[in-house]
Subunit: 337 residues, 2 copies
DNA sequence: CTGTTAGCGCATTCAC
DNA sequence: GTGAATGCGCTAACAG
């Protein structure tokens, strides 16, 4: 801890602590000469204000909390990147919490944040969460902004992507590629993020006059082994020629199963996956991805919450929808949507 | 902010604030009955202690700072995952800062952290950094633990991986695969992390009686375009049959260049890269990776700093070295080192 | 076992 | 323009 305090600065400058405090915050009440003296000494002695004392007095922490299911995830780490970027530019600090998709851990974090540790919270909710009580409670005291995964029935600022549309387009893309039997790996079943993706898939099928077949939709959850065997069943029995995965985590099992079953990708089975592994289609031309603008989502979410904190005019119910890209790669070409 | 304070609890319970404070921290001085009354009311009223007030008084923040070059990076995000995990289990909060390999931003963060915002700092230094002044200054006031990228000439707790050995093994692996002309993409030139990787490569060559050829070593830096053209030159003129990339970021340009030049991977050129993209060899069998135990590094770093904070006996000069895996994938097999 | 008192460092109100 | 006084919420020393 830098031991130097306002009091000590005041002492050395023959000023009162109040004057030094005001000078440091560039108050109009202080003469330019005094300000300069204060700034010079502060710089010389490496003065750094004590954040706890400052917060205790001013009720401003200059800190944001970010709650995500996982940090080691291509989407979330890119989003956090954007959030940190904006925060740094505005002198804000960023606290990170991960829930591992566990709504109890999530609730505990949320509860602990009402104590004035942060000025605002950016959250992408766990896939299990359906109780919004903690959130409404928290939102009474500080601004909360949801990104990517929001609670359906909650009024709050939300940043999402065009999940429905991008799943629709991806499905149509597979149809245009000649797929007749397209399956869907359904994850985030509890959230509108997941449901929208499913609905985009279903609607694309029906509007292209393809019979909607429930057995082609696999419900996926946290149990990796179960997911694996369900997908394996699907590929063995139903033999789809196209597949859409609603989360990146399921791509690898798909590849493993195809190898096991001697299914050739993409000749026998074309795969499209929601994924922010931007290098995926380049390392492996047979994979097409729906890539969310994760960094921009982070930027947008952080910018919005800072506006809320600065009492700028923001619709506290605003929903921002950004667009995903469909990234495909043949031998050389790279397409974007 | 949860408005309820110790004072209010005290008032409602006909106790003094001091007693309530002691009861909340489960002090041995307080009767079980009183403790229970306090806990019950605290729970009922959703009391959450004000962290600023607590810190101001106790000089403990229960917060760690993590400084990394990039969050959206497979290695660092996995390391942060481990750090967050340990921190949560011990009731610590985690602040994230990214330097984008800029030592000025890094220095500014370090400077701002002497003010008592955190109890300790976990850092992986920027590739530009060679001035250790800020670090020694900071380390006087709070513990600093370096992970993966440390400053050479600084006495501190460090967690690293066996960079020399893993580069050595990877090079020997390529030799065993029949490569005669192995090139090396040299990055992190300023850090021992990078230098050790280079030396492992060089020593593996010489101890296998392969002439050491400087033109096969490409100096890479932040300038992506320059890296690209240098690598392209290498592949065009020198036509190596093996390549080791000392960072993950250079793999994609390599693939792009090979495609451009009609070089077949792995038939014409075998590539091994330091990379924590764990899915890489699975999505693309032609890539072999040296994968660092990022999560374990995070776990270890966090555990160590918590020990330091709790004045446990820790050698303040301790260096922990964890081991990377060489992950290769033929048609079906997966090897580990 | 519990209460009283004091002060962490800062920002704000009120004086002059 | 500047200073003196006050209190944010908590914990620790001292007292009993």
């Amino acid at each position: 801890m830098s031991n130097i305090t306002i009091k000590e600065l005041a002492l050395k400058l023959n000023l009162s602590a109040a004057t030094v405090s005001r000078a440091l915050s560039d108050s109009y009440q202080i003469s330019t000469a005094t300000k300069q003296r204060v700034w010079d000494l502060a710089k010389k002695l490496n003065y750094e204000p004590n954040p706890s004392a400052s917060t205790l007095r001013s009720h401003k922490t200059k800190t944001l909390a970010v709650i995500v299911p996982e940090i080691a995830n291509n989407f979330f780490s890119q989003a956090i990147n954007g959030i940190e970027e904006v925060s740094r530019q505005h002198g804000y600090h960023v606290l990170i919490y991960q829930t591992h998709e566990n709504s109890e851990i999530e609730a505990a974090f949320i509860k602990s944040l009402v104590s004035g540790r942060v000025d605002g919270v950016l959250i992408s909710v766990s896939s299990e969460t359906n109780n919004k009580d903690h959130f409404t409670e928290l939102n009474k005291t500080i601004p909360v902004v949801f990104f990517d995964r929001a609670l359906d029935n909650m009024e709050a600022v939300k940043i999402t992507t065009n999940d429905y549309e991008s799943a629709y387009n991806a499905t149509e893309h597979l149809i245009e590629c000649g797929c007749k039997k397209i399956s869907f790996l359904f994850a985030l079943n509890n959230l509108s993020t997941g449901k929208n993706r499913l609905n985009g898939y279903i609607d694309a099928l029906t509007s292209n006059n393809i019979a909607y077949d429930e057995t082609l939709i696999i419900n996926c959850d946290k149990d990796e082994n179960q997911n694996y065997s369900h997908i394996k069943d699907l590929l063995t029995k139903n033999k789809p020629d196209g597949l859409i995965s609603s989360i990146e985590e399921l791509v690898l099992p798909c590849y493993a199963i195809c190898e096991e079953l001697n299914i050739n990708i993409p000749d026998d089975l074309k795969i499209v996956s929601f994924s922010n592994l931007k290098t995926a289609p380049f390392l492996n031309p047979s994979l097409t991805t729906i890539t969310q603008p994760a960094f921009e989502i982070g930027i947008t979410a952080a910018t919005l919450i800072l506006k809320l904190l600065n009492k700028k005019q923001v619709d506290t119910n605003e929903v921002v929808v950004l667009k995903s890209d469909l990234i495909e790669r043949g031998s050389t070409a790279v397409k974007k949507n």
